[in-house]
């Protein structure tokens, strides 16, 4: 009976392993296929049945794809790096203080602030898009607008327009609050006794001790901004301001069926995020566990 049990669980285990490996291969297949096809020639990419490996590895596809669009991908990369990088820094600058306030300071209203932040998570992004567009276009004193928000184009067609609505992220605030709460309260009390300023405690104790969660929040924010399509597409019309994903969309409509160029462009838009993730993953996973998503 025992041995039958063992055999049963062993065969189950083998089945699961096969399933997992199969799924992993399926999961990777689009990436592998994309990379292999980005190195084929125009003639070879249209062969039926397809070759697995390219006959000649055409690295010039990458050069072509990089320089082909009117504004070039170099420009798109710079735009995306600015929007995602600066946007993430601003996000941290805005979200760390509020998380600190609601996790460490006991004052009337701190509970309500937290409740308000969490409830904004429920508001679907589709609702906010149209009013936010109007708000940014008529932002007072921005982009030649007068104090009533008339006359100019506000933050329409600017980096600020792409970034501003996402400085305050309810998700990041939630994550950072959980992380700050897990730092023992005694440190804070001791720092008060020592006469340390609130700000100094934040910079020298809280932030370093919560590094994994801060990295996690930054990574989520950076990836989200790097990959966002809808908002940048709406708020910009100037080609020189297009971030990567929007540029890629236009590249698709321009290049049409030159799939070897499309594959090359897709590959180099994915690579930076993958590299970033691989570097940050150690912190990222401990940070994700530390969000307090527990039973």
């Amino acid at each position: 009976m025992r041995s039958l049990d063992k055999l049963y669980s062993k065969s189950m285990w083998t089945l699961v392993i096969i399933l997992i490996i199969g799924l992993a291969l399926l999961s990777m297949f689009p990436f592998i296929w994309m990379f292999l096809n980005s190195l084929k020639s125009q003639a070879e990419i249209n062969l039926i049945p397809p070759h697995i490996l390219p006959e000649r590895w055409m690295f010039e596809n990458y050069i072509h794809a990089w320089f082909k669009p009117e504004a070039t991908f170099g420009r798109y990369f710079i735009n995306s790096t600015i929007v995602a990088g600066a946007g993430t820094l601003f996000m941290l600058a805005v979200c760390i203080p509020i998380s600190y306030a609601i996790s460490h300071f006991s004052f009337k209203g701190s509970k309500w602030i937290f409740f308000f932040v969490i409830s904004t998570m429920m508001i679907p992004s589709d609702i906010t898009i149209i009013p936010n567009f109007v708000t940014l276009r008529h932002f007072p004193f921005a982009g030649n607008n007068n104090w009533l928000g008339q006359g100019g184009q506000g933050f329409y067609d600017s980096y600020m327009g792409i970034m501003l609505p996402f400085f305050a992220s309810a998700f990041s605030i939630f994550l950072l609050r959980q992380a700050f709460l897990s730092v023992p309260k005694e440190y804070f009390e001791a720092s008060q006794v020592d006469g340390m300023t609130y700000f100094r405690y934040l910079c020298t104790v809280l932030v370093p001790l919560s590094a994994p969660s801060i990295v996690t929040a930054s990574l989520f924010s950076f990836i989200g901004k790097w990959n966002s399509v809808l908002w940048p597409l709406l708020i910009t019309s100037n080609e020189a301001l297009r971030p990567l994903q929007v540029g890629l969309l236009y590249f698709v409509s321009e290049e049409g069926h030159n799939y070897h160029h499309l594959m090359a462009a897709a590959t180099f838009t994915i690579v930076p995020i993958v590299v970033l993730y691989i570097f940050a993953q150690k912190w990222f996973h401990s940070g994700a566990v530390a969000t307090g998503l527990k039973g």
Binding site: S27, I48, I102, F105, A266, G295
Partner: protein, 375 residues
């Protein structure tokens, strides 16, 4: 620099020089801070300062959230009562909503009877999409997470492999998927041919799958029944596959976080009692992970009603073939961007918001009872 400051403070709290153990600090810390007894006035002054600083620190984020989250709700509601192009034109009261409910969900055609409108079709599309993606994605993620949680070799690599699709840009990934399912030169059709099946027009075939099945047994889709009820088209199925591929990694991360919170003793106790692996999963793991399941279900349902990117990139923003991949957000986007009907688009997004609220409420009402909380 920063690290040493933190360590110094920690040492002071612990009252030691070595200061490597964080966990044991609580008792000692209380002893250190206890002798200092500020007078009552000092305390109230300190409290005031704390409140002032607290509000000051919270203010920037609060203002931004009010301006870009709360205000849009009210402002969007206001816009939805207007005929509003790029500038406000005319206050028309409930006309935008009348259009939604009287024409766009369903209508009665004098010749053909009951027909489904564009919003009605979007809702049906979203229901197919939710049913086709959420269970598959959650079940797969659970199996993989359960496996990855056991100590096995190559765990970190597998985790990365499954997570990569989630962080990949959907625009770039959709290019690859569209290429895989290209009707002439895609590898999907090559595979179909090599196993002896017919080639398909994947992304452009407008016939839904139920009507295809009927055709297989020689029947025709009845003309009195709206064709939108004939199931998802291949294009929608491919978008579902794409979504499952992209979302499994995220669900795995959530499940792994949940699994690591289950105490080892529970498993060992069950094992001593002679429970098999399947019994362990059913009676220990699943109940204890149910809060995660609940969270993922709610998030996924909201996610499917809000999904835009995948639908946009697969169909170049047109929702084709024949509107069979037009999600509600894509419909709103088109009303706004392509047709410039800002007021109407705002009204539809309010409608979407009400649907989401109702769905979330229903899930809470019926889901919460089945969730097992550890506390």
């Amino acid at each position: 620099m920063v690290r040493t400051a933190a360590l110094k403070l920690k040492n002071r709290v612990l009252g030691t020089k070595s200061g490597n153990s964080t966990g044991a600090s609580i008792g000692t810390a209380a002893a250190v801070s206890a002798p200092v007894k500020p007078t009552y006035r000092k305390v109230s002054k300190l409290k005031q300062k704390e409140a002032r600083t607290g509000w000051m620190y919270a203010m920037p984020a609060l203002l931004l959230l009010i301006l870009f989250q709360l205000w849009p709700m009210l402002f969007g509601l206001w816009i939805s009562f207007w005929k509003w192009g790029f500038v406000p034109e005319k206050f028309i009261g409930l006309d935008n909503y009348a259009r939604i409910f009287l024409r766009e969900i369903f209508y009665i055609d004098p010749d053909r009877g009951f027909r489904i409108g564009e919003i009605g079709q979007s809702i049906i599309v979203t229901i197919y999409y939710a049913i086709g993606t959420i269970p598959v994605s959650i079940v797969l993620a659970f199996i993989i997470a359960y496996f990855l949680f056991q100590s096995i070799k190559g765990k970190a690599m597998l985790r990365t492999i499954f997570f990569l699709p989630f962080i990949t840009s959907q625009v770039a990934a959709a290019i690859v998927f569209k290429w895989i399912f290209h009707p002439n030169v895609g590898i999907a059709n090559s595979v179909m041919e090599s196993v002896g099946l017919k080639k398909q027009n994947w992304l452009v075939d407008p016939d839904p799958i139920f009507s295809k099945w009927l055709a297989l047994i020689g029947l025709k889709w009845p003309s009195w029944l709206p064709i939108e009820l004939g199931g998802p088209t291949y294009a929608l199925l491919i978008i579902m596959l794409f979504t499952v591929w992209g979302s499994v990694g995220f669900n795995i991360v959530i499940f792994l976080a949940g699994l690591s919170n289950i105490s080892k003793e529970l498993y060992e106790a069950a094992k001593i009692d002679g429970a098999r692996t399947t019994a362990l999963i059913r009676h220990v793991t699943l109940p204890l992970i149910s809060p995660m399941l609940f969270l993922l279900t709610i998030v996924s349902v909201i996610g499917s009603f809000e999904s835009f990117n995948a639908f946009y990139v697969f169909t170049n923003g047109e929702g084709g073939p024949r509107g069979s991949t037009m999600s509600l957000p894509l419909y709103i986007f088109r009303a706004f961007y392509t047709y410039g009907q800002v007021g109407y688009a705002a009204a539809v997004s309010m409608f979407l918001f009400v649907i989401l609220l109702a769905l979330t409420w229903v899930q809470y009402r019926f889901g919460e009872k089945r969730v097992h909380y550890q506390r």
